[in-house]
Chain length 147, copies 2
């Protein structure tokens, strides 16, 4: 069995959760992926390494990780939930309604605003959801899909 420990696995373990093959695989997929995965994609990617894993286990695993703050769930556009390992530096998403592309961007001004608000109101911020939807330059110009 794999002995190398990723940050996510270390954290999970430290918090008293058992490290099962299924959880390890889900975490690995999340860490290796630079995309935002929904439960279904996560499930299929995980199945490549743990063929008998079930969708229920994927959901149960992301629930634990989410609760621990190790991953974040986004509702990109109008769709269902997407997950992503929490990045060192926060970043946000723009979803194009025309071509469906998701672009990541950072916004230090937003980070600062959040921090200021938290301090001023004495809030403990656990999650920041900042996503934009609209049309990208290409689609505005009558791009790929003609809109």
């Amino acid at each position: 069995m794999n002995l190398e420990s990723s940050p996510l696995i270390t954290a999970l373990q430290a918090s008293g959760h058992r490290i099962t093959r299924q959880r390890r695989v889900v975490l690995e997929v999340l860490e290796e992926s630079r995309e935002h995965l929904d439960a279904e994609s996560l499930y299929w990617k995980a199945r490549q390494r743990a063929p008998r894993i079930s969708l229920a286990t994927v959901y149960r695993t992301v629930a634990v990780l989410k609760q621990m703050g190790l991953i974040a769930e986004y509702s990109l556009g109008e769709e269902h939930g997407h997950f992503e390992a929490v990045p060192e530096t926060p970043h946000y998403h723009f979803t194009c309604l025309g071509c469906g592309r998701v672009v990541e961007f950072d916004a230090p001004q937003v980070d600062r605003a959040v921090q200021e608000l938290a301090e001023r109101e004495n809030l403990e911020i656990r999650a920041v959801q900042f996503s934009l939807t609209g049309y990208c330059a290409r689609c505005r110009a009558g791009g790929p899909d003609g809109r």
Copy 2:
């Protein structure tokens, strides 16, 4: 029949949609309410004035309004969709994981950041979703629910 026209009704009408009793009622509830209503609450409030209205009609109505940009849908916290008439000045939401309270706040820095990004990347922004979740001052101090 009621002759006074709210902004929402005027806009709906102008866009070629028929003004039915059900739509009128849904719009009225949305305009009068200073809360963020989910489809179910909207349905019950609407039923007080139009007893035979169905949940399906509520959904169909908010879909039209959303598409026209007259109302906005938020996924506050982790819950299902909430609707709100689009305010003159944009504002955002903080949901307390402890007591469930939703606080509105504005963030000019965020507005500015969005505008800058849109100009720089030549995007047409249709919707901005910016919501924070965490614990409010009271709940951090071992408040209402003891957390």
